[in-house]
């Protein structure tokens, strides 16, 4: 059952990225262009997601276990360290250059866009380098 949930959640997430147009780097770069011609849409995507996920997370986090799995897996790391900051700076730079983050990048594979495919392959190379250096 949890396999069907994984596929279903991926589909819902992907459709959310399409409807919100976050799959289009132009919309994301428009949001990051705060000091030019600004498109606030991305902030509304975050608000829409958070008003669902925040209250429901806190409602369910103390339940004994999830419906289709043995236990909840919630990140435990609380450390504010160099890795967190440097990693976020690297990510913010790449995000600001192209306007793609991992979700929209992978979803855009469906559109058979050569540029986004090159980006996704490079991103996976980045994942691999990080796994070998950490």
């Amino acid at each position: 059952m949890n396999k069907i949930v994984s596929l279903f959640c991926g589909i819902i997430f992907g459709i959310g990225l399409v409807i919100s147009e976050m799959i289009n780097p132009v919309k994301v770069l428009g949001f990051l262009n705060l000091f030019g011609e600004w498109d606030p849409s991305l902030a509304f995507v975050m608000i829409g997601a958070l008003i669902i996920s925040t209250p429901l997370f806190h409602l369910f986090k103390n339940k004994e276990k999830p419906l289709f799995s043995l236990n909840f897996s919630i990140p435990k790391n609380k450390e504010i360290d160099k890795k967190l900051i440097i990693g976020s700076v690297f990510f913010g730079t790449g995000w600001g250059l192209i306007g793609l983050c991992p979700g929209p990048a992978i979803t855009s594979i469906a559109l058979l866009n050569v540029s986004s495919a090159i980006f996704v392959v490079s991103m996976f190379i980045g994942f691999y380098i990080a796994s070998k250096t950490n």
Binding site: G10, F44, L50, F91, I98, A110
Partner: protein
């Protein structure tokens, strides 16, 4: 600052769906969604590999299902050079793994949990993204 191309309704609607995906994945499968984590774990870890693959396949099916039901074609525009696409991709991949999260993992899942780590990460990548666009526009 001028506001242009603002689409609050579709942004909010898409956001609600993303929030629904995050919370269903948590309540039903017990995991917090973070696309960079799901994608890189699929690449490097045997744990939950099938689940991670199915989530990624779901993401890629999303646009086709949307087009099937709405009849609307999806258009995106990317005009960067090959060098920038590769550099940007590696920076996003390496950076999100070093900081253990991206826009979804830190920005949505982490903030939902009120994680200070995720709040700091989100503020950092947003500020750096804004500065990068500012510099790109000047150059």
């Amino acid at each position: 600052m001028n506001i242009i191309n603002f689409t609050p309704l579709s942004a909010l609607t898409g956001g609600l769906l993303i929030g629904l995906s995050v919370i269903l994945f948590f309540i039903l499968n017990g995991r917090m969604v973070g696309i960079s984590g799901i994608a890189s774990d699929f690449l490097i870890s045997k744990d939950n590999r099938i689940d991670n693959l199915l989530f990624l396949i779901g993401l890629i099916l999303g646009p086709s299902i949307y087009t099937f039901f709405s009849g609307q074609e999806i258009e995106i525009s990317i005009s960067n050079s090959l060098f920038l696409l590769i550099g940007g991709g590696v920076l996003v991949g390496f950076g999100t793994r070093l900081s253990s999260g991206c826009t979804s993992g830190h920005g949505i899942s982490g903030i939902s949990r009120f994680s200070l780590r995720s709040i700091i990460a989100t503020i950092t990548f947003m500020i750096v993204g804004i500065l990068t666009v500012l510099v790109t526009n000047i150059l």
